[in-house]
Subunit: 370 residues, 2 copies
């Protein structure tokens, strides 16, 4: 094939110089159970941003068409030592049309179909993807299917993980995010209790409209009271946090323990026997996670990532999850976008600065052929 | 019974006034499977200190015979809100002679025997203990048996927990403590790899003398290199930390991840797939636990407490552990004491200030009848 297509690459040099640029690359041929997807839409998720821009100084970067060069300050640069000098693709997921396939049957049957996929280089005009990981979208548009994987499977993964751990309620520290809205709908459908933490009354209102019974606003003076009350109502001693840095997890553990202690008849120097479990699944705040010594020793905090979870969950569970996503793609799992940009437009100062801010409800969609 | 005996009580008032005092109390009668133990020796463990003195301002306290009154500064006072106004006993464990028993057979058979026990009010002349939790000491002295429970069962518990989790190596962040020395001997006996972190060359030397193969000194410039090398040698991606606050756990996770990443053939933005596990089992540092975003999402951190662990381990495992402790009480599980004090002497400014400093190798023993 002599065909070529545009692709985004991000390179961090040892001195902290970050170069993000669109290049014209030759389109590879799919083999075996691989398919070649002409990409039509790819979202910019928080999970894409670390590799794409990280902590780069965007204000003082130099921008040219299809390219920017910025400096990544310390200690973030040295913290990314493992990628120094590597020219990396970006974009976890997207949707497009299969235009070629390897000779494997699973691949050949997809030719001509629109699919959602997880190629890892979705900010490209063409991607190679594994047929087994492609989700045929039927009559859905590429925009409908662009975010069919990361957020839907993560939100569903939380509920699956909670059920595996015999929990019937979940706490989510960023309730109004795209993922948080999906989680709200899933929990409502499945009868799982959900405590949503938000930062604005408008976000609490939005969540209530889609069925959230406990959306508590961390900006209110009585936040801790409301949080304790919501935890007591639902029994949510198990939660997920995409912030990571700061005291987000600490606040959740504190409130959980205070609810548990209020139910104890006798004082114990070791705190309650209530097991408290939190998972950090993102790093919206790249600062230190701070845990205070104020909830005893009955707690566990883990990192949580989608792919290892799916591996541990097994093929049958994953198939069931994928079917559920497809069946309700434009309702339960609907994503909304603030703006559409093509590959060149996504590297302008205005665009990069805006999507790196990760404002709730302001997701970008990359349309590589527009 | 009209008999009375001395007992220590610690009371924290809502305004932060901490009163620790020896009182004469009437000795209760044991019932059922309870025994009455005339206490002969009780250690002051780090786990006793939170309730005993906490963060009280010992420098400006007022001391009188058998009593001191100090102020607990904020935020520690408000953090202890749950105990405000409660007059609490102290002293987890100790050893003494059974002088009376309830009418249960398990209790009656212990009369006249010397036992180790875990009454929770060991800083007393007489204690009530459950017969099922007493360890008959045979010909051992009370001093030999005084610390037969907390440190031995905790150190053994780490190894049991590691084996349950299919680990064959452990990292311990305070290697030279009394407990750390026991852990070193147990790991040597059981063929479990052990990475000991110490703060002085003399501590590393001490540990090497009792069989530690990897004792790394955090005060050395090449500490991180040495720590990585020790983790690589042993495969210790699983560890225990009694410090809690600061970056002790963070350092362990970092070194573990760096070892795992150095073995990867390809860069991953998500870090290694190596699961990293740490447990905080104490709070020698009551500051915030700080976790940096530099080891991906493949980690889990939990609190760890002896009693919940023993409950989950089951009766058979606990019996086996107790037998092992008794069989090697003066070798593997030997404890050493810097000083012996009676109940009045333990409340002098000099004594309280000294044992609260929790210096390695400087444990106090309380001898209530001396």
């Amino acid at each position: 094939m002599a065909t070529t297509g545009k692709q985004l690459f991000t390179t961090l040099d040892p001195d902290g110089t970050l170069t993000v640029a669109i290049e014209e690359v030759s389109v590879p041929e799919p083999t075996g159970n691989q398919v070649l997807v002409k990409m039509e839409a790819a979202p910019i998720n928080p999970s894409d941003l670390a590799i794409l821009v990280g902590a780069a100084d965007l204000e003082n970067a130099s921008y040219s068409p299809g390219k920017f060069v910025a400096t990544v300050p310390e200690p973030f640069n040295i913290g990314s030592k493992a990628r120094h000098g590597l020219k990396l693709p970006a974009g976890n997921e997207g949707a497009g049309t299969v235009v070629a396939a390897g000779d494997g049957d699973a691949a050949k049957v997809l030719v001509g179909q629109r699919v959602a996929c997880v190629p890892g280089n979705a900010y490209s005009q063409y991607c190679i993807a594994d047929a087994s990981a492609c989700l045929p979208l039927g009559d859905h548009s590429a925009e409908d299917g662009a975010s069919a994987f990361v957020n839907p499977m993560t939100a569903l993964g939380f509920v699956e993980n909670a059920k595996m751990d015999d929990q019937d309620a979940i706490l989510h520290t960023v309730g109004a995010s795209n993922l948080g809205q999906m989680l709200t709908r899933i929990c409502k459908e499945d009868g799982i209790g959900l405590v949503n933490i938000v930062r604005k009354d408008s976000q609490a209102e939005l969540l209530r409209e889609i069925g959230s019974t406990h959306a508590v606003n961390s900006s209110n003076d009585d936040f801790m009271d409301q949080l304790r009350s919501a935890i007591a109502d639902t029994g949510a001693f198990y939660g997920f946090d995409p912030i990571g840095g700061g005291k987000s997890v600490d606040t959740a553990f504190k409130a959980m323990e205070q609810v548990a202690v209020s139910r104890m008849s006798e004082y114990s120097r070791y705190g309650s026997n209530q097991q408290k479990r939190m998972f950090i699944y993102g790093r919206l705040d790249t600062g230190m996670t701070m845990l205070s010594p104020s909830y005893g020793f009955g707690w566990t905090l883990s990192g949580w990532l989608l792919f290892p979870f799916l591996q541990s969950a097994g093929r049958e569970t994953v198939s069931r999850m994928r079917k559920r996503v497809l069946d309700t793609l434009t309702t339960t799992f609907a994503s909304h976008y603030k703006t559409r940009v093509n590959l060149d437009e996504m590297l302008t100062k205005e665009a990069v600065t805006d999507y790196r801010a990760m404002k709730t409800g302001e997701k970008y969609l990359v349309t590589p052929w527009a």
